[in-house]
Amino acid sequence: MKMPLLKVEGVSKYFQDPRSKNEFCVFSDLSLSVKEKEFVAVLGHSGCGKSTLLNIIAGIEKSNGGVVFLDGRQTVKPGLDRMVVFQNFALMPWLSVQGNIRLAVKAAYPEWDKAAINRRVEKYVEMVNLTEARNKKPAELSGGMRQRVGLARAFSVNPRIMLLDEPFAQIDALTRGVIQQELVRMWEDTGITIFMVTHDVDEAILLSDRVLLMTPGPGATLAEEITIPFSRPRTRDRLVEDPAFFKLRDRIVAFLGHRQAA
Amino acid sequence: MKAVGASAAMAIIGNFFPLEAAKAWAKDASGPLEKKALKIGFIPITCATPIIMADPMGFYAKHGLEGTRVVKAAGWAMIRDWAVSKQVDCAHMLSPMPLALTLGAGSPAVPFLMPAVENINGQAITLHKKYLGKVKSAKDMKGFTFCVPFDYSMHNFLLRYYLAEGGVDPDRDVKIRVVPPPEMVANLRAGNVDGYLAPDPFNQRAVYEGAGYIFMLTRDIWPGHPCCAFAASKEFATIMPNTFKAVFKSLVDATHYAHKAENRKEIAKAISPRNYLNQPKVVVEQVLTGNFPDGKGGDISAPDRIDFDPFPWDSMAVWILTQMKRWGYVKGDVDYNKVAEQVFLATDCRSIMQGEGYKAPAENYKKHVIMGKTFDPSQPEAYIKSFAIRRTS
């Protein structure tokens, strides 16, 4: 079997309460793997530690145990190979749409000349349909547009894996649907590998190939793994007509709810 | 101010003043000028008249120093710093300053020379106009607050002398503060101080502004007392002897010109503008001609209110040194003659004066009469001990 692109082995994270000095286990001994071109989602309630897990994979937080492998090699520091799309966009507010993407492209391809960089930036601006707004600053954009910039930025550096941290949580429900579809389109077009954390059950079912269910903390675990049976292209309209969708949905909600109560 | 131990002072002087070398240059130097465009520092008071007037009236140029300019300093500390750090080549100083600099009193010790006196007389005790008719002598001044421009100044020493002769202890019975001259007038007007012994034109200015009156001219304390001087570092004189001689000559020349009464009005006009004294011309004229209103309602004619005589009597230096010792500015034993002769260059001034065709005194020492009391320069220690009010035993 082909080696997974991303392998997380036995990763743990502990926090120390600064006042009581009690050690608090966020999660311990988590393992998962992601194959190339897969779209994997981790689903769990807020506060279960899924963002922490993503940060550890990204390298912007340190774990208290376990290893993360990318292409079979241990990762230590953050890098362009594991580009992140942030929940609150993390765009540089003093740079325009173009400027933000250019910042990433320049960092990823330092040896490219100006023309090549400009071409790449333009390509990704177009890919997210922001050509009209390319000179605007983030403050002048809506939430949905800002995340499109975030996505364009991430795609433009062609990372080995894209890490999405609740990417649409701060976008209004109406826009969310549109962007979700765009994301799937871009994923299919580029063949990139995506690892996403989310608390939205529908979103997980709609977008991903596999869903990993994370129990609430402390001491969270990846209790169940579900392969999404619905064929692509998936749209909300089609899914809501499929009774299997509701069954799956209820099962997941019950699983999470039951675990919550317990 | 810092008091310097005498042995340290002597060691310093011994290092810097091999006797022979100090005499050599003034006589021989007659080669080309090492530097022509000098910067000469001055304080904008009438004491510096010869130094200042030599610029617009061409005395520097006459002796080959083309491009020499006089540069205005805001205060004595600034002049001292400029002279020590060589931002000016030579400077107008108070006559005790070269002595203090050489001894390292109140500054790092740097050997300085005083080749010529700039002015004699030229100061006054000015009092707030509320004391008109009320203050007759020093005794009436107990409890007063006075100002002087600097600690190492004839103003300070003359004021102290005057007060002490009247039985008033200048350290205990009055307050003496160091204040820049324009602030003296402002303070007088505001009533913050009772009087000051200051250089002109600030005494006449007080009358002009209606703030005070002239109580006593210093001419009447010690007729012919030295006040300000032309000073240069020993380094300047040694490294650039020809230039030094040229400046020396320019100033001796200018001083003699200023001494003549008929020239005073012309000089007042030349030195009053903004880039020199920056004072109203009428005030400067009143000071220089000695025809002035005294603020008591009368007009006085005192043509030697200020006078100009370059000869730096070594005995004057000794007097200054006795006063420095008397008030505790210098402690320990002082070799009066040695220090006086190394700093106040009476012999060299004589040769320059004669070289330029002026008459010079035959001796370097003479007795001086100050407020009726004779000062014998050969008996400095006895002189100090003869004062009831003093800070030494």
Binding site: A90, M92, W94 | V71, V185, R274
Partner: protein, 303 residues
């Protein structure tokens, strides 16, 4: 210029405005520069009226002040110069700004130039050092905490208090003046830069880390722009502090400039000229601040 007799303008009405010329006119001209003009767009007549009012009030305050000054300067025998006299003296200098009468007396244009020149050099040097140190401290919390107490102490010391020490070590008035400006420019900028860098959103630094930006690129592309508004705020305060320091420094060091002008005129008890100098110093200070205002606006960003 000796003190001339104060003129006796009637001040019975607020329209008793001193004749144009000099400092008063300068002030009014500046006010007008800030005034965008009477023709506003159709923003609603109520808004127009409210907006217009502050300028009228400001002008009224100025005229009232001038009128009171004119009135009381002729009272008593203090000979305090009236606005008219000050304006006359001001005009004397402003009408011939570039004369040269030797090293002790030069035109006001030159004097302002010298002061600004000194300010520019000292301020630039101080700012570069301060921003550099501020970035270093902002990125390293431990170092910042360790050095912060000393920074606070140094910040509290008036730049003029450094002068005797500097003069003693450096032995040169020109350099001392520059160093005084340097010291004045350092601390507010340093403190603000460190604060700004420290408070950059962690996300921006995370992005920089993920993009594997080399340190220099990170500093110039992320950290400095991110801390930009705080840095400019610090620079603005430093500039004010430096301009305030330079005038007494010049007066105490004898360097040709506005400070020297103040002292020289004070020596002649020329109060009118001293007032003119004060107004000029204030005017230049305001212009410098306006420059920084522009800079601040261009570097501001909304998160």
């Amino acid at each position: 210029m000796s003190n001339s007799n104060p003129s006796t303008l009637s001040v019975s009405s607020a329209a008793a405005v001193p004749p144009s010329g000099g400092a008063a006119a300068k002030k009014r001209a500046m006010l007008k520069a800030v005034d965008p003009g009477p023709a506003r767009s159709a923003a609603g007549s109520l808004g127009q009226r409210v907006g217009g009012n502050w300028m009228v009030l400001s002008l009224f305050c100025l005229l009232l002040f001038l009128a009171l000054w004119q009135r009381y300067s002729t009272v008593g025998n203090e000979k305090f110069p009236s606005p008219v006299v000050v304006a006359e003296h001001a005009w004397y200098f402003l009408s011939d700004p570039f004369y040269d009468n030797g090293p002790n007396d030069q035109g006001i244009g030159y004097l302002v130039g010298f002061s600004l020149g000194r300010l520019a050099v000292g301020f630039l040097a101080g700012s570069v050092v301060a921003v550099f140190l501020g970035v270093v401290l902002g990125l390293n919390r431990t170092l910042f905490k360790a050095l912060n107490p000393y920074i606070q102490v140094l910040r509290a010391i008036s730049p003029i208090a450094w002068m005797p020490l500097l003069l003693y070590t450096v032995q040169n008035s020109g350099w001392t003046a520059l160093l005084v400006v340097f010291m004045a420019s350092m601390w507010p900028t340093l403190a603000n830069t460190a604060f700004g860098v420290n408070n950059i959103k962690k996300e921006y630094l995370n992005v920089a880390a993920i993009l594997q930006m080399p340190t220099l690129a990170k500093v110039f592309r992320v950290i400095l722009p991110g801390a930009g508004p705080a840095i400019v705020a610090g620079l603005r305060i430093s500039m004010g502090s430096a301009w305030v320091a330079i005038v007494p420094a010049e007066a105490l060091l004898g360097s040709l400039g506005l400070g020297y002008f103040v002292w020289n005129e004070w020596n002649n008890l020329g109060i009118a000229n001293v007032i003119f100098a004060i107004l000029l110093i204030g005017a230049v200070g305001v212009m410098l601040d306006m420059l920084f205002n522009r800079l601040a606006k261009s570097l501001a960003y909304t998160d």
